[in-house]
């Protein structure tokens, strides 16, 4: 997928040995969220409810895979063991994946697909906007700025569809409310800090997640209200563990499909 950039921007964080384990983990989280959600979204290719939505979903999936290449490419550089984005995407086992549980859940119907995208995009957009403006790591800022343009569109599109379907027919409303109730307990993980997150905040690389949470809740609430959907109480039960490598049974199936070719035919390319 990617090669080490030869004229990369100078960035002390990339070679900071003390920072390295946490920085590598955090970059894997960024890359794996994009990779797994991108893969889930790509499952709609050829199965969309209408041609136009099918193409829009495939575009979104491709955007996310593009972000994966950048994040995992940088993760490989930081790790310094010669692994590139391909090696990290195709040759890591499930326990080494650092994505949220939210993004690995099955794609469900269009309600689950678009509600998940909306809930994730609202977080993703806030995070990338902060990173592009404020991150102490120039390489992280660069990647965030590139991804932000695409994610702004993802968020607009997903918000629009959430409002249309939530405030649509009785059936579309019911499906969207069901999707929201199903996914809501998985959103807490995005804002639950661990030692990796705290190390990134201390280094000035990434933002404080509590600060993101309050902004996220405000923007998500506005859209859900417009969509006539009832948001479950914040601060309820949160499914955790994905960021630390403890996944649902669903991730294994994704990786089996995604990694099969490289596992069966190592180094295959076309």
């Amino acid at each position: 997928m990617s090669e080490m950039p030869t004229n990369a921007t100078a960035d002390a964080a990339v070679t900071d040995q003390a920072l390295q384990p946490a920085f590598f983990d955090w970059l894997c989280r960024m890359g794996d969220n994009a990779l797994v959600l991108g893969h889930r979204t790509s499952e709609w290719c050829g199965h969309g409810p209408v041609l136009e939505e099918d193409i829009a979903l495939a575009n979104t999936a491709l955007d996310l895979i593009g972000h994966t290449q950048m994040w995992l490419g940088l993760a490989g550089e930081v790790e310094g063991k010669g692994r590139d984005a391909d090696a990290l995407a195709y040759l890591r086992d499930a326990m080494k994946f650092r994505n949220f549980l939210l993004v690995e859940l099955p794609r469900g119907d269009m309600a689950v697909t678009m509600m998940r995208e909306f809930l994730f995009d609202a977080y993703h957009h806030l995070l990338l906007a902060w990173l592009s403006e404020n991150s102490s790591s120039p390489r992280v800022s660069e990647i965030a700025a590139k991804a932000l343009k695409e994610v702004s569109y993802h968020l607009d599109r997903a918000s629009d569809i959430v409002v249309r379907l939530g405030d649509g027919t009785a059936e579309s409303h019911r499906r969207m409310q069901d999707a929201l109730d199903l996914l809501w307990p998985y959103t807490g993980e995005m804002f639950t800090s661990d030692e990796v997150d705290r190390a990134m905040v201390t280094a000035g690389i990434a933002p404080d997640l509590e600060m993101l949470r309050s902004k996220w809740e405000a923007s998500v609430r506005d859209i859900l209200e417009e969509a006539t959907l009832k948001a479950p109480d914040p601060g309820g039960y949160a499914h955790l563990g994905g960021k630390q490598g403890r996944h649902t049974e669903h991730l294994g199936y994704i990786l089996a499909e995604m990694q099969f070719l490289q596992r069966a035919y190592p180094g295959a390319s076309w």
Binding site: L51, E52, I55, A56, N59, D156
Partner: protein, 95 residues
């Protein structure tokens, strides 16, 4: 959602270097806002455009193919109707 098909829209895109919006195709969408979004996804993935117009296909009035003769034939063989005999100074730019 009902099984009724979404209405058809005609899509016009102004390219990076183009001066005019050009017809690029059509698509289905429930309203203008989604037609713009769909047009962005279906027709501008390779940075083809800087501006998109969408028009409901039903609002386009077309000339009838059977009237082709009366409409267009008289224009043939009247070369003086084409402004090809003028020298246009470079400073004028695109006409």
């Amino acid at each position: 959602m009902s099984k009724k098909e979404w209405p058809l829209w005609e899509v016009f895109i102004r390219g990076q270097h183009g001066l005019n919006h050009r017809h690029v195709g059509s698509l289905h969408a429930p309203d203008a806002e989604m037609a713009i979004n769909h047009a962005r996804d279906v027709y501008t993935r390779r940075r083809e455009g800087v501006s998109i117009w969408v028009v409901p296909s039903k609002d386009i009035t077309a000339s009838s193919p059977s009237e082709k003769g009366p409409l267009f034939d008289p224009a043939e063989s009247k070369t003086y109707r084409h402004p090809t005999f003028f020298d246009i100074p470079d400073e004028v730019g695109k006409m």
